[in-house]
């Protein structure tokens, strides 16, 4: 199997790796770069566990061929926390207990950060649910996930994100 060198920027750092055209970006991240935060759920673009940003666009890395990433910027869940500090969304997920088994969490975090970058004013629960429609939680822990995203958005706008959901609504 012919492997080629793929030069990318992963989480802000220049990274080169060897990959074959039959490898997905997901496989390359996990198997070549050891970035196992990105998960494989369905392998068909339905569950969102493999969500990463490719040149600033949210994509399912299971539906990207590794060579497509040549010269592109890749951002994974490993890049969210910086200098030992959790990303505000990660912090909010912790505070809301927005995870059960945790397998879907990296994907939800990637989608939620992408969402809040574009829609810092987000408040409406239905819109949040719609935006998260491409991420599945097999533990069905959606309520706390949606709450965490909404409260992180509030906190980002300088509003109180610590109050319990029930009291806040």
């Amino acid at each position: 199997m012919s492997r080629q060198v793929i030069d990318t920027i992963v989480n802000g750092e220049p990274v080169s790796f060897l990959a074959s055209p039959t490898q997905t970006l997901l496989d390359a991240l996990r198997d070549e770069l050891g970035l196992t935060g990105t998960k494989e759920g369905c392998g068909s673009g339905d569950c969102g566990a493999c969500s990463v940003q490719l040149d600033g666009r949210l994509v399912c890395s299971c539906l990207v061929l590794a060579p497509e990433a040549q010269g592109r910027r890749i951002d994974t869940v490993e890049g969210l926390a910086g200098n030992g500090t959790l990303h505000p969304l990660q912090q909010q997920f912790l505070e809301q207990a927005a995870l059960q088994c945790g397998f879907c969490t990296p994907g939800f975090l990637m989608t939620a950060t992408y969402l809040l970058e574009r829609r810092p004013d987000l408040e409406d629960e239905r819109e949040i649910r719609e935006a998260l429609a491409g991420n599945l939680c097999r533990c069905t822990g959606y309520q706390n996930i949606v709450d965490a995203v909404r409260l992180a958005a509030r906190r980002r706008r300088g509003l109180d994100g610590r109050v319990s959901t029930r009291a806040a609504t």
Partner: protein, 309 residues
């Protein structure tokens, strides 16, 4: 991905190069163009398609991006739907086309999926196709002639899909772009689909409607297109004729529903029975027409200055 056999991958930066790579096609060594991959890579992973070579189209400038084209628009065939959804001026002209593009899958899928891919995958249930047909969109198809020169033909979008998974593209041809005309003087379009859930599903029925109004608020021109009720998306001229000249009153809506249902030739499958699809097609057509009518009214008369921009 052990389901995939040996595979070559190329990402050319010019159309000429891409067409040359596509020409190496052989029955036992298929060459497949790659746009967003949200259909192709799924098919490769399941073993349903086994290409020998992939030609990634996303580094070819003509295939990516949205630009003004006369009074209308030119959308590169591989432009991701997420980019289409964020284009305010395009949405102002063709809200139905943009909303259809934004119904394809999740935000993740929209980061990759394209109008060209949606059209060439030729699913009868493709969401963007009825909206494009209703809008009167055309497809720019490119091929190579001798000496590296390019040759283009422009065809109505509805002539490309030939049946599930089949298109009218000849070997050696690539879909380069979708062209949308200028919207009608007082125009509006809409696309609606029925799915059993609120998101992330495939249309049981889809319907796109584009209308132009006259100075009295009556329908001067109309195009009605249906998805998932036949082997390909359908343009239904009889449905357009049923409402032209009317103010889209109840009687006109009833005629619209009847003509739409008469055009349906759906199948029974896990997403719905033929009878259900036929019934729902009429309902969606009425609602889409009313939405397009409201948008056309809200748009107001477009003056020459606006159209020249």
């Amino acid at each position: 991905m052990n389901a995939m056999p040996e595979l070559r991958f190329d990402a050319p930066s010019t159309l000429a190069e891409a067409l040359q790579l596509m020409a190496a096609q052989a029955p036992d060594a298929p060459v497949r163009p790659l746009s967003g991959g949200s259909d192709l890579i799924v098919q490769m992973r399941s073993g349903r398609t086994r290409p020998a070579r992939i030609v990634d189209l996303k580094r070819i400038p003509e295939l990516v991006g949205i630009r003004r084209d006369g009074g209308g628009w030119r959308i590169g065939a591989a432009t991701p739907c997420a980019v289409i959804g964020e284009h305010a001026a395009l949405r102002a002209d063709w809200p139905g086309v943009v909303e259809a593009a934004c119904l394809i899958g999740s935000p993740q899928v929209q980061g990759r999926a394209s109008l060209g891919g949606n059209l060439c995958n030729a699913s009868p249930a493709a969401d963007s196709v009825p909206a494009l047909i209703a809008a009167g969109a055309t497809a720019i198809v490119v091929s190579a002639v001798g000496g590296g020169a390019l040759q283009r033909r422009e065809v109505p979008v509805e002539t490309l899909p030939q049946g599930p998974g089949r298109t009218a593209l000849a070997p050696g041809e690539l879909l380069e772009a979708i062209r949308l005309p200028a919207p009608p003087a007082r125009g509006g379009d809409a696309y609606l689909r029925l799915i059993p859930r609120s998101e992330m599903d495939i249309a049981v029925v889809g319907c796109g409607v584009s209308l132009g109004l006259d100075a009295n608020g009556r329908i001067a021109s109309a195009r009605v297109a249906l998805g998932a009720v036949a082997p390909t998306a359908l343009l239904v001229p009889a449905a357009a004729e049923a409402i032209v000249g009317s103010p889209l009153d109840d009687a006109a809506c009833r005629r619209l529903e009847e003509t739409v249902r008469a055009a349906c030739r759906p199948i029974d499958d896990k997403r719905g029975t033929a009878a259900y699809r036929t019934r729902v097609a009429g309902v969606l057509a009425r609602r889409a027409a009313l939405a397009a009518f409201e948008r056309a009214g809200a748009a107001g008369p477009r003056n020459a200055e606006e159209c020249a921009q």
